[in-house]
């Protein structure tokens, strides 16, 4: 009886999750760096307003997959991609797609905080200025404040907006980078191990922020920390040696994974 209810609950949950529209769809995605193949026919969907965590041991291809989603791999010489990735049904590798416009829709936050050597204000205003999102100075001020507030940084920096962004602490810098990404109003935000260079307190703040951002943005996050994946994500995908091993609801993944390798990795038996 008990088992029945559980199965029913699971089915209900799956039904609920399945009704969430797909934001990005990767089909048979393979990536080559020169002769070396880094990804093998990965099929992975990203659901709207959901946090999707990509986990797996180092060198498993999770960051590579993340960077295919906004074509950041294009900036690496000798990188070749096959398969299709769509954003709202549009192939992002189609020659007619403007990669600049794509990156405005699919923003990115990097592993190491990389604020520009400009003031805090200028860091956040950078994207809106480039894309002409603010009509005048007042508009821009509002946009900068909103973005900093969304990134939970406003109260800490509102009195020193015109000081250098590189003078902030590591955690603040990373939240500044998130604010910078948010300011462009992307639909998807990609995060490549955003907390790996931060201490536990700063990490907690960024995680909280990610959790909140979910209501407005679709988020894909690469992480090495199982706990982080469990805390912030709803869907989790496990990579190993360039293959997608398993993709599942986070709750299920961490309690009852389908694949033995996932189980082993989560239990800390390898990786």
């Amino acid at each position: 009886m008990n088992i029945m209810t559980e199965a029913a609950a699971e089915a209900a949950l799956e039904k609920k999750m399945n009704t969430v529209p797909l934001k990005m769809v990767g089909k048979d995605v393979s990536v080559y760096y020169g002769e070396k193949r880094a990804l093998f026919d990965v099929n992975l969907d990203v659901r709207e307003n959901t946090v999707t965590a990509l986990i797996g041991p180092s060198g498993c291809g999770k960051s590579t997959f993340l960077r295919t989603l906004n074509r950041m791999n294009d900036t690496i010489g000798g990188c070749r991609i096959t398969g299709t990735i769509t954003l709202d049904g549009e192939d992002i590798y189609d020659p007619s797609i403007d990669v600049v416009e794509l990156r405005a829709r699919v923003g990115m936050v990097f592993q190491k905080p990389n604020p520009f050597p400009k003031s805090i204000y200028e860091n956040v205003a950078y994207g809106p200025r480039i894309h002409g999102l603010a009509r005048n100075k007042a508009d821009l001020d509002v946009l900068v404040e909103q973005s900093l507030q969304r990134a939970g940084l406003w109260n800490e920096v509102k009195d020193r907006l015109h000081e250098s962004g590189t003078g902030l602490s590591g955690g603040q810098q990373q939240r500044l980078c998130i604010a910078r990404a948010v300011a462009v109003s992307p639909e998807v935000i990609l995060m490549d191990e955003p907390c790996s260079a931060l201490d536990p307190i700063a990490t907690a703040k960024v995680e909280e922020l990610i959790y909140e951002l979910r209501s407005n943005f679709t988020i894909v996050i690469v992480t090495h920390s199982m706990q982080q994946a469990a805390r912030v994500s709803q869907r989790t995908a496990m990579f190993h040696l360039g293959n997608l091993v398993e993709e599942n609801d986070t709750d299920k993944m961490f309690t009852n994974p389908d694949d033995q390798r996932t189980q082993d990795y989560i239990m800390g038996r390898f990786g």
Partner: protein
Amino acid sequence: MSTKLLLAILLAITAVAFALGRMRALSLSGGKLSTLHSRPNYYGAYVALVSFLPPLLLVAVWLTVSPFNVNSAVRDSFPDSVKAQSSAQQSLAFGMVSTLAQGLPMLSEDELASIKQDPARLQPVFAGKGLAIAAEAQPYMLDSAATLNAMRQRSQLALVTVAIALAIAGAFVGLRTVAPQLRARNKVERVILGSLVVASSIAILTTVGIVASMLSESLRFFSVVPASEFFFGTVWDPRFAGAGASSAGQFGLIPLLAGTLYIGLVAMLVAVPVGLFAAIHMAEYATPRMRAIAKPLLEVLAGIPTIVYGFFALVTVGPFLRDISASLNGLATGNYTSFIQAQSVLTAGIVMGIMLIPYVSSLSDDIITAVPRALRDGSLGLGATRSETIKRVILPAALPGIVGALLMTASRAIGETMIVVLAAGVAARMQLNPFEPMTTVTVKIVNQLTGDLEFTSPQTLVAFALGITLFCITLALNIYALYIVRKYREQYE
């Protein structure tokens, strides 16, 4: 025995000392290297240093001091009549004595005897040996020359004996002190550190020496010509050096400085945009293959001697500008006279600018590529295009370095001589027309110091005043460059 041979012997002793020290360390270790404080080679090096450094120091000191001693002894042996003469004449006499001393060992017994009988034969005999004797030699000079030779030989012999003895003694002392606990590695490394310090202080001391020598000559110049006339004079007309003190001429720096800055400015106007754009292309857009080909080619430009650029200006760029200006003038007014002279500020500036392109591009390229990839990624990740990324992120981040590079390039432009001589002429004129000749400080320095001259007239001494002015300008530029680089680095990193 010559100093070279002595050094060779010392080196041989050192080599033996090294081998012995190493062997002794090995035998002391009894096959277990771990009982030694340092590796056996360090013990060898330690013994070698102990045997080599003291005699080396001795040789250096001896070779500096002994000529003074010998010379003053020989001068003391001059007859009183000579000693009563002025010091300049004494120096002259001593010069003859040392030439004679050089020639004496080459003479045969007969020749020597014949000279002693008849001092007049001295000149032809020495001329036959390839040594020119200026004036009639006095008989006492032959004796003095003989004394000089004897003293030199004695000094050399003493040096060789003492040095070799010191080397061998050093080797023995070194060998005796070799013990497993001896910290040979630390001692050897301290010597290496010392030699590094010596090397770096040589560069600094040389700079100080150059400045000091220029300064003393400049002060002599300013004792003849008032500094205000030099720094604020607007006419450059130094006259000829031989014309006598009464017609000292005018030494106005301003026309030369104006020419220097004007030509430098034109050169920078050519070099900065072209070099900077080339650097941006190389660093950001060029494919690795293109970069591998184009970058070395661009840097070949930096290896061309500036005199070759001078030819280029003289036979190609200058006439080309003159002819094209004639055609332009003809098209506009029907009058086919050229308004650009073949030798002009413009010609020199353009050619110098071409010379400076590789400096600007190579330095800037290094600086641009040093901007962290994370900043590029951050900007591209926000949907910025490549050129927006370069304009708004990379160049601002690289700016302090680029400004520093440009100022360094500017000091090169200011110091350039050969291109200006051939492309802009040597006429010191004060005017603003870039199509007419002007000249620079360096050209005038060369002008004032070529030919037969004595270093007492203001006509030649002015070169040192010009030199030190130029030195101060480039020094100020470099210091300013450093200041800018520091200031912005603090703000950006």
